[in-house]
Symmetry: C2
Subunit: 516 residues, 2 copies
């Protein structure tokens, strides 16, 4: 195996499982080139009746075989039952070596671990959560997993790096033509954009719905002209888990302080301007508090944002309904207010990874966002960020939209200095998800550190009350609290590639050396 040191100093292989790999060369080094993959040319005359009676009929019709790649989206989040259902049926048929290509997985998908152990699933390309990530860390996958960001997944499908044979699209609302959206029905989940690339390029596309409506189902987030088959099922999942309700503002004083510092930073640094203001924040407790504080500061200063980027939450919806933003550009709904607003408010706009996050386009929305507030498991002295593994080496998270959203004009990482007696600010991250050149500010409960590449931001803070420290100071303070942490022990085996949004390899994850 040949290795090369990439632009963040990590050794990465040039080939794995017979696939050529390109080392990461810098956040904006990739200049494109070549052609996208061409979808299958089909004839409309063969698609007059797409309705099938069951998932089994769809599996038959799609002629699923050993080794095929199966795509799923994650808009139903922890309420999804389709992935388990389909994989159970494929396992029961004795299929082997399937590649699972979900846009994300959740704790509810823990049973996939047994399919990995049985060889039904050879590996995962896309995203992994706790239990499945843990299996990957233990070396249970036959081949090397590939972690991609939401934009990176779209790019990989578009460019032909990830060839999906059959995509199953859980559709809360659909018609017999296959037009589908996530706005209506008992499983309403908001946007369906994570399934867009699957619909455009998968060889076979199956729309599965528990709410069939007369043609035309509109809006058609998924266009029927890309859909082979439509199947109705009794239910797509557990609505109470689809919109998880876990998206509550943190009550931790430490985390509230971090959110407050982040909002103050945006205000005091002059980013929160009358014109061209926009921001993105996720659904974690700190992010929600940040959105709330941001709203209060905007109201106080009379600032109206051009747009805010979801995942949408009630706090985002409040901004829209109170006139503090012109638009919500929403990639996924995290709570019921998000779904309702998307359905009812014409200025709450559904987006997808093509318009939002794809690097291989003629521009996407990511770098039009003025400030992006993101979490991390680790950040190091070079401002490199890890969101995939923990300091103990376990692979427990997907990339989500991290690397894409970090393309914002100012990217802020919010994190407590120490989490469970482990420092978050480290000398060198366990895995690099995003390069330090994309990260501008770290906000902790002890104050903010500005990336030395952004001295312009530092200058703007001279009238602010927020404590400003160097990242080295924060690192030292963390070490004073925890002592030098123990490093995890890995074997040589690479169990996962961390792919940057342009398709290059920014780091690898190695199998954990377990004591048992």
């Amino acid at each position: 195996m040949e290795w090369k040191k990439n632009a963040v100093g990590r050794l990465v292989p040039l080939e794995i499982d017979g696939k050529q790999l390109k080392p990461f060369e810098g956040a904006y080094a990739d200049q494109g080139g070549g052609r996208q993959t061409g979808a299958r040319i089909c004839a409309a005359a063969s698609y007059r009746d797409k309705m099938l009676k069951s998932i089994d009929e769809a599996i038959d019709a799609c002629k699923i075989q050993d080794g095929m790649t199966i795509g799923f989206h994650h808009h139903l989040r922890n309420g999804d039952i389709l992935i388990n259902l389909v994989m159970e049926k494929l396992a029961a048929r004795g299929l082997k070596d399937l590649v699972l290509a979900p846009s994300a997985l959740f704790p509810t998908h823990e049973k996939l671990v047994s399919y990995i152990e049985q060889g039904v699933i050879s590996h995962i390309e896309g995203s992994m959560n706790g239990p499945v990530g843990r299996a990957c860390s233990l070396g249970k996958m036959k081949k090397t997993a590939v972690l991609r960001s939401h934009g990176g997944r779209y790019r990989a499908i578009q460019d032909g790096d990830l060839k999906i044979d059959v995509a199953f699209i859980a559709a809360p609302c659909a018609d017999s033509h296959g037009n589908a959206n996530g706005l209506h029905g008992p499983s309403a989940c908001g946007p369906l954009g994570f399934a867009l690339a699957d619909s455009l390029w998968a060889e076979r596309v199956v729309v599965v719905t528990d709410h069939l409506v007369p043609f035309p189902c509109f809006p058609w987030s998924i266009e029927g002209g890309h859909v082979d088959f439509v199947v109705t099922v009794d239910t797509l999942g557990d609505p109470s888990q689809i919109i998880s309700g876990t998206t509550r503002i943190t009550r931790s004083p430490t985390r509230l302080l971090i959110a407050d510092y982040a909002a103050q930073f945006v205000r005091d640094s002059g980013i929160m301007t009358d014109e061209n203001f926009s921001f993105q924040a996720g659904a974690g407790g700190v992010s929600l508090a940040f959105v709330k504080y941001m709203g209060e500061m905007m109201r106080e200063k009379g600032v109206i944002a051009d747009f805010v980027r979801g995942g949408s939450t009630q706090y985002m919806v409040d901004l829209l309904e109170n006139g503090l933003t012109r638009f919500i550009l929403d990639g996924q709904s995290f709570d019921l207010d998000g779904v309702r607003s998307l359905r009812e408010n014409p200025n709450h706009i559904e987006t997808n990874p093509f318009v939002s996050y794809n690097y291989h386009t003629k521009g996407c929305f990511a770098n039009r966002v003025k400030v992006s507030v993101l979490g991390a498991t680790e950040i190091d002295l070079d401002f490199n960020v890890n969101v995939n593994t923990h300091s103990d080496g376990w692979l427990l998270h997907g990339i989500g939209g991290f690397t894409d959203a970090a393309d914002a004009q100012v990217t802020i990482i919010t994190a407590p200095l120490v989490r469970n007696r482990v420092p978050i600010v480290v000398d060198s991250v366990t895995s690099v998800t995003a390069p330090g050149e994309m990260i501008d500010v770290l906000v902790t409960e002890y104050g903010v550190a500005i990336n030395p590449r952004r001295l312009d931001l530092l200058d703007r803070l001279n009238k602010s009350a927020i404590p400003v420290l160097s990242i080295e100071e924060l690192h030292n303070r963390a070490l004073q609290m925890t002592g030098e942490p123990e490093k995890p022990q890995f074997t040589d085996r690479v169990v996962a590639l961390i792919e940057f949004r342009d398709g290059t390899v920014i780091d690898v994850v190695r199998q954990l050396q377990t004591k048992s």
Copy 2:
């Protein structure tokens, strides 16, 4: 040159200008196969600023060279000035042998004839109107023109048969990212769908607007992620001609009678049912009257359509606003009411040739339409229809959406038996645009003729008051009125191919032998 007789009995060449051709084999014979063309892989980092100061800067930036193919759309109709403006600048640069690929041309584009004569334009792929069609009939184009339907043009671009080097997209409303729609601004024209394929596959895409709005311009009928450059101009055209105002109901008693017969046919044949009713009709005088009569009959019988298909007009909008249809699915707006309704009514939905008309998809809307009412220049004893040439041999019209819309479950041709002392029902059409197998009914002022393939429709008319005749009877009656018409004299040279929606050649147009 090798020739072959195709499925409608026309001799067509197997190769022309070095391109291999496939003869038409039947409306639903094509089964697809192969892959679509892959768009260029671009890098977002190169698209941070797309704004250019002028059309000239855009021409420079796109590096337009001799022989390139330039795409345009026709939503601005006879009010468009962009095509003339761009071609004038390209001519002034001394460029030669350009291929013009407009989705349609109008009388305002007559000056293109001089660019054809000068060799600036080698030929046209797409659509031609009166003056440019006339030039084609006279053999003035260096290479063979290709006539395509709206769906056929999308298919050809998607499949790589028509490679557009640079697309100029006239956009009544756009932002600096290139997101664009036709809903707002002084040149508002309604949908922008005819430019969709250009945006997806052209090597370079230039959005030209006279109404730049702050990001995000929504809806984004054209997505900025596909756009290379954005140019602002003072005006895109003459608003009074964009929405032409020519879409008035006929006052001719003969034509009103035809429209009335067509509506009666739909009612009496039982097509106008409580469930699953839908129809499509164009913007001609007969079509408008048909829509009005249809509305009256629907109201009388308490029928509500699932949808009606535009081109939208005030008569379509009346149906929507009066609750007689759930939706308008609209490909282009023909009048101001259409534009206003599309902007204001969420059930007035913008469509494009992909969802509506493309044959090389997993199904499009065309065959979900219950009844389609279309005009023609000729129809023959086999029910083959000509919409391109007249009986005197002149090529004067594009295909428009004809061949696509003829995929409806029932396709009705409305035509007077005789026009300007020339029979419309002929023994054999001058050119075949659509095969008789797609045409179910001919409605004239003397009554209707049913295609013998549709005896089911004939049976349903036994209680109707509409006169039913055979097409031979109608033909004979026409001949009695006009005598046997003189046939045009052609040279051997093929000046245009008439392409069927699947990419096969259904007929050719030959150069006219002129007496002068």
